[in-house]
C-alpha cells in the first residue's frame, strides 16, 4: 500500500486511452465503474481536444456484481461497434474490473465482430500510465503488422522512417512531430508512418515498410520499436533531438543512415539558442543552480541543455520513470549531482528545499512546489496542465524547440541587465524589491521598478528567534539583498553561524558567511 496525494502518472488504462485517442479508426471498450469516466476530461478539458476520446465504459455498479457483468460488457462492446464502426476494437479492464475477472479479451472474441478485437492486460496494480501506453501501442502494432518470414534484406541509403511515440495528452507531442517532420524532410527522409498520433490500424500495417524508426518518446515507443527492429531489420534512432547538441547528434545519425550530407544542417543559424546564450545579457545565467525533474526522456534532455547550452549548474536530477531509472542515475553521476528516482512528490519537495535551486525545470508538480518555495520554474515534462497546451506553436525538439527552451527557461529568471540594475539601485529609497517583467501591475505608488506580488523570502523576525540571532544591523543589511537570493543568503548565514556555534549574527558574520559560500 502506497500512500499518495498527487501522482505523476495515472493508471495504465489512461496510457491506453492516450494511444487510442491519438489514433484514427480505433475504439476502446473499457470495463470500468462510472467514476472512471473522469478520464475523458483529461482530453477534452486539459488538452482541449475537440472530440470525446473514443472510449466506451461499461460503468457497472455494485448491484451488477452478483449478476451478469460479463453480459454488460458484451452489450457495451456490441453497441459501441454498431455506433462507432471502428476498424479495430481494443478491449480491456480498469483496476476494478481486473478484480472481477470477466476477461474482456475472451468475451470480445466471442462477439463475432467483423473487425479485429485486441485485448489489453495492463495489470493496474503493478503498472502505470506510460507503461500502459507502451504496452497498448505494442499490442496494436503486433495485431496490425503481419510479421515477415524473415527480416527483409536492406541495402543502400535508408530514407524512409517511422516516427514512433507521440500520443494524445503528450507534452508538446503535437508540435514536436511537426518540427521533426521538417527536420527529416531537410535530410531527404520521408515519414512512412507516424504513430500512434494520427495513424489508423491500416497505417500501422505499413510500419514494416520503413528503413528505420525514430524512437521519439522511448517511454511509449520502446517496446514496439524493439520488436519492429528485430522483425524487419530496421534501425532504431534513439537520440531524442531536444536541445541543439542532441538535435545535431540526431541529424548526424539520420544523415548517416540516409547517406546524405548533414553539414548544411549543422552550420550556424539553425537555432538562436547558441547566440542568445553567448550574448552578454546571458552572462548572468552562468552558474544558476538548476534542479531538473520529469519523465526520463525530458529530464535527461533538460539536464544536458541546462549544463551544455545555457551554462547553468545542475544541482539535482530526478525522474518518476522507473523504466529509465538507470539512465537517469548514470547521467546524475556524470554530472556529479544526487539522483532521485521517486513517485513521491514530497520527496522531491524535500530535496528541492535542501538544494535551494534558483530555477526548477520540472512537471506541474514541481511548478507548485517551486511556487511555494518562491523559486522560478519552467515546465519540461508531463504531467502538465491546461496552460501547457499553448495556443502557439511551441515544440521542444529540433532547432525551433531549442529556441522555445531558451525562452521558457530564461523568462522566469531575472534579465541580466535588470539584475545588474537592481544591484546598483537597491539602496534607492524608491527601490521596489522585484523585477519588472515578472508579475502584475504595481500598487498605487509609482516606482521605477514596479513590485510584483512574488513570495519574497521572509526576513528573520525578532519574534521567531528567541535569542535574537540577528543583530539589527545585520538584519537591515539582509533586507538590502535582492529578494531572489535573500532566502539563500539568510539560510547560508544561519547555517554558517550554527556550524561555528555563534549565537549572534552581526554584519561581520553576514559577510564572513558570504565569503565562505563564495569559495
Amino acid at each position: 500500500m502506497q500512500l499518495s496525494v498527487w501522482t505523476y502518472e495515472g493508471p495504465p488504462h489512461v496510457g491506453a486511452m492516450r494511444v487510442v485517442t491519438a489514433m484514427r479508426g480505433v475504439h476502446y471498450v473499457l470495463h470500468a465503474p462510472q467514476g472512471d469516466t473522469y478520464a475523458d476530461l483529461l482530453f477534452t478539458m486539459i488538452e482541449r481536444r475537440r472530440e470525446r476520446p473514443p472510449v466506451t465504459y461499461t460503468t457497472f455498479q455494485a448491484r451488477d456484481l452478483g449478476g451478469d457483468t460479463a453480459g454488460l460488457f458484451k452489450t457495451a462492446a456490441t453497441e459501441a461497434y454498431e455506433r462507432f464502426k471502428p476498424e479495430l476494437l481494443v478491449v480491456g479492464a480498469s483496476c476494478t474490473a481486473e478484480l472481477i475477472q470477466d476477461d474482456p479479451g475472451g468475451l470480445g472474441k466471442t462477439l463475432g465482430l467483423p473487425v479485429p478485437v485486441v485485448p489489453l492486460e495492463l495489470s493496474a496494480y503493478q503498472h502505470k500510465e506510460n507503461w500502459g501506453a507502451g504496452e497498448t501501442f505494442y499490442r496494436l502494432v503486433r495485431a496490425c503488422v503481419p510479421p515477415p518470414a524473415s527480416p527483409p534484406a536492406r541495402a543502400g541509403p535508408r530514407r524512409r522512417c517511422n516516427v514512433l511515440g507521440p500520443t494524445a495528452l503528450g507534452f508538446r507531442h503535437r508540435d514536436d512531430v511537426k518540427e521533426l517532420e521538417g527536420l527529416l524532410a531537410r535530410l531527404q527522409v520521408t515519414v512512412n508512418v507516424m504513430a500512434p498520433l494520427g495513424a489508423s490500424p491500416r497505417d500501422l500495417a505499413r510500419l514494416g515498410d520503413a528503413d528505420f524508426n525514430v524512437v521519439l518518446y522511448p517511454e511509449i515507443a520502446a517496446p514496439a520499436a524493439t520488436w519492429l527492429a528485430k522483425a524487419f531489420g530496421q534501425v532504431n534512432v534513439t537520440t531524442v533531438p531536444i536541445g541543439v547538441g542532441a538535435t545535431q547528434d540526431f541529424i548526424r545519425e539520420v544523415a548517416a543512415l540516409a547517406e546524405v550530407d548533414p553539414s548544411p544542417l549543422l552550420g550556424q543559424g539553425q537555432s538562436r539558442l547558441p547566440w542568445y546564450s553567448s550574448s552578454i545579457d546571458s552572462t548572468y545565467l552562468t552558474g544558476k543552480r538548476v534542479f531538473v525533474f520529469g519523465d526520463g526522456t525530458h529530464a535527461l534532455a533538460a539536464a544536458r541543455v541546462a549544463v551544455e547550452e545555457l551554462g547553468f549548474t545542475l544541482v539535482g536530477l530526478g525522474t518518476y520513470s522507473r523504466e529509465q531509472a538507470r539512465a537517469v542515475r548514470s547521467a546524475a553521476e556524470r554530472y556529479g549531482v544526487p539522483a532521485l528516482v521517486t513517485e513521491d512528490h514530497l520527496e522531491v519537495e524535500e530535496l528541492m528545499t535542501k538544494l535551494q535551486p534558483e530555477l526548477v525545470l520540472g512537471t506541474q508538480m514541481e511548478r507548485h512546489i517551486a511556487k511555494r518555495l518562491g523559486v522560478p520554474c519552467a515546465v519540461i515534462s508531463a504531467p502538465v496542465h491546461v496552460q501547457d497546451f499553448p495556443a502557439r506553436y511551441s515544440p521542444q525538439v529540433g532547432f525551433e524547440g531549442a529556441n522555445v527552451l531558451f525562452d521558457t527557461w530564461v523568462h522566469p529568471l531575472m534579465m541580466g541587465l535588470e539584475e545588474h540594475l537592481l544591484h546598483m539601485f537597491r539602496d534607492d529609497f524608491e527601490f521596489q524589491d522585484s523585477p519588472s517583467h515578472l508579475g502584475a501591475a504595481p500598487p498605487a505608488k509609482a516606482a521605477p521598478l514596479p513590485a510584483a506580488p512574488l513570495p519574497a523570502a521572509p526576513l528573520p523576525a525578532k519574534a521567531d528567534s528567541p535569542h535574537d540571532l540577528w543583530s539589527d544591523e545585520a538584519r537591515s543589511e539582509l533586507q538590502k539583498i535582492p529578494f531572489f537570493v535573500r532566502g539563500r543568503a539568510r539560510r547560508n548565514t544561519e547555517q554558517f553561524a550554527k556550524d561555528r556555534g555563534l549565537h549572534h549574527i552581526t554584519l561581520e558574520t553576514l559577510y564572513d558567511a558570504k565569503a565562505h559560500f563564495q569559495r
Binding site: W6, Y38, Y57, Q61, T96, Q126, M365
Partner: protein, 420 residues
Amino acid sequence: MTAVPKLQVLHERGQHEVFCGLTGIMWLHRKIQDAFFLIVGSRTCAHLMQSAAGVMIFAEPRFATAILEEKDLAGLSDANEELDKAAARLLARRPDIKLLFLVGSCPSEVIKLDLSRAALRLSAAHAPNVKVLSYSGSGIETTFTQGEDNCLAALVPELPAEEPGASRSLLVVGTLPDIVEDQLQRTFEALGIAATFFPPRRSRALPPVGPHTRVLLAQPYLAETARRLEERGAQRLKAPFPLGVEGTTQWFAAAASEFGVTHEKLAAVVTPLAERARIALEPSRQRLSGKRVFFFPDSQLEVPLARFLSRELGMHLVEVGTPFLHQELLSAELELLPGVSLSEGQDVERQLGRCRAAKPDLVVCGMGLCNPLEVEGFTTKWSIELVFSPVQGFEQAGDLAALFARPLARRALLQVNACS
C-alpha cells in the same frame, strides 16, 4: 395546494458519464478542518482526485489515497496491516487531525476489505486523539454527491443525544461554503431561530440530535443522512432548497412556520433580502428568458436548479437529467416544477442523441462533454462549478443566475467560434 401530477420519468441504464462519490472529498475536506480523508483505493482513485480537483494548490491537502498494490490483493490480513501502518504514518505526520475517514473505493469493496472493522480497530488504537470512521465513496455504490451523503450519514451516529427536556432546535444539514453558512446563520438569528449547521467546521463540535431536532436540508442529495437523523428522532421539514429567491424564501419560511415565527417578522426579515436578490437576477434574466436548457445528470442539484431557471429566469426546460430522483426529498421542488421531461440515470450516447435533436440554447453537463458539445455548436455550462461555488441563499442568487448566463453572453460576444 394542487396534488402532485404523476411524474413521467425516463429511466436510463447505460453508460453513466458522472463522477464517483470520492469527488465529494474535494469540498468535505475544506469544510471539516480537522478531518482527513484516506481513500483506500487504486491509482485510478488518486488520479481522479487530482484531475477532478484541477487545483493542486495544497502541498499536503487533508486527503490522500492508500494505493492498493499487487501484494495487498494477495492476502487481506496483510492489507489490513498495511492500512494500519499507512494510517499511523499519516497521523504521526498530521497531529492536527482529529477525525479520520477511511473512504471505500471500488477496488476495496470488490476485494471486500472491511473498512468499518478497520475503523473500529484504528479508533481504538488512536483514541482519544483521533476518531476513525468509514464510508463508501466508490463508483459502484455512489454517484458524485452521494459521497457526501455517505460521509455525513457515517457521522450521524456520532452526534450526541439531545439533553432531556431540550427545546426545539434547528439543524441545517449539508455542506455549504462558510460564507453562505454565515449569511444564512445571520438570517436565522434575525428570525430568532437558533440554528446549527452540520457538518461542523471542527469535528468535535458535533450538534446534538433527538426528537426535538428539526432538520432542514440545505442540499438535495442527502437521503441516507436524512434517514439516519430521522432514526434518531429528528423530524425533517418539507421545503424546497435554498437556490434562487423563491427557493430560499420558502426554505426560510418552512423553518419560520415550524418555529412559530410570525408572518410579519418573516416578511420583515426576508423581503428586503429577496428584493435585493431579485435586482441581482435581472441582468441574467434578460439574457436567459425564453431560452431552452438541457441538463445532463451530475449532482442531483438538477431539479432545484431547473425550478429556479424556469420559474425565476423564464427558461424552458427541455430535459432535466439527474442521477437519482428522490421524490420524497424533492416533493416541495416537484410541486413547483412545471411539467417537464425528467430522466433518471443515464445512457450517455442516447442522451446526446436527444440533446442534438432538441438543439437547446444551453446544455448543462460534465467537463468530459462540454468542449465536444461546444465544437458541435452548443453553448454549455460545466456543472461541477455549480457544486464548487457558493450558490445558495439570497446573496448568491444573482451569482447562480450569472453562472448560466455567462456562457450565452460569451457566445454572443465572440466574433470567432469553435468551428472557425
